[in-house]
Symmetry: C2
Subunit: 168 residues, 2 copies
């Protein structure tokens, strides 16, 4: 199910694009500078909006890279505008678009580590379920909540996107 969940994460990153459009529209209606949003925070000791977008894209690309062995795109983390955040989301989605189901064949049993774990490791399966997926949604929702809190016109449909429904 790894591939299917990454396809969903890719879709959710695409929703960020729509949220950024709504942010531009809100700023225009209020005659404020839209790039001000990049520094907003939900709490003084929580990362600002720009960092939340950086982390949700990093979490996705690094999880996909670690679970497939593919090389992820690198970003300079220097975004100053909403347009630069759009480009980062787009580059992350392009990387995900290039992955196929077979790339994840060995995902569950890969050995994953990162510097902050000080030598400890996780199986790919545990890393994905306990770390990557919760962190992805944590930062995705931090992005959404920051915009909602600051007045941008968003609702649950903008979060979920289109659903694959049929008429029986």
């Amino acid at each position: 199910m790894y591939f299917e969940i990454f396809r969903q994460m890719n879709k959710q990153l695409g929703q960020i694009d729509k949220w950024l459009d709504a942010t531009d529209a809100y700023a225009k209606a209020k005659s404020i500078e839209p790039n001000l949003f990049l520094d907003f925070r939900l709490a003084p000791d929580q990362f600002p909006f720009v960092r939340q977008v950086q982390i949700v894209t990093d979490t996705t690309k690094l999880a996909a890279a670690r679970l497939t062995g593919k090389e992820a795109p690198t970003f300079a983390d220097t975004e100053k505008t909403i347009d630069e955040l759009r480009a980062r989301v787009k580059a992350t989605r392009t990387f995900l678009d290039g992955l196929v189901a077979a790339d994840f064949d060995a995902a569950a049993t890969r050995v994953i580590t990162q510097p902050r774990w000080e030598g400890k490791v996780m199986s790919g399966a545990n890393y994905f379920l306990e770390h990557a997926l919760p962190n992805f949604y944590f930062h995705l929702n931090a992005v959404y909540a920051l915009l909602r809190h600051n007045g941008v016109n968003l609702g649950k449909r903008d979060y979920l996107g289109a659903l694959t429904q049929t008429t029986p």
Copy 2:
């Protein structure tokens, strides 16, 4: 992977218990009534804290029930205190604790619907990936963000909980 993801959702619901403990501790340190938190919102037109906890437990129990055919516990939605929210989380987790991997054998191909979809249906696989899982994390993070925004002492470790790490 359905069973494994529901086990993770169960773990995340357990983290809410720790967040409620931190809320009690914060309220005590500030000499405020902890149950005030139930009415807090991140935006005037977003559901308050009590409703976010109600929805994250409902989303979990209903998804598990729809994908397994088991009957979920029902709640009166009348919680007025943090202790009553604790009881709701606990009852939801007890329901999840009773499920085994084989209960999800037919999950992907079940036909799921709900009244607000006006007759349309989703496959169990699409419902889980596109609707249940994103909604679960949406409301889980709304609970977390509301507390963080209002000063409760929480961090990423309180969100993720313990990780299954080993020393190679």
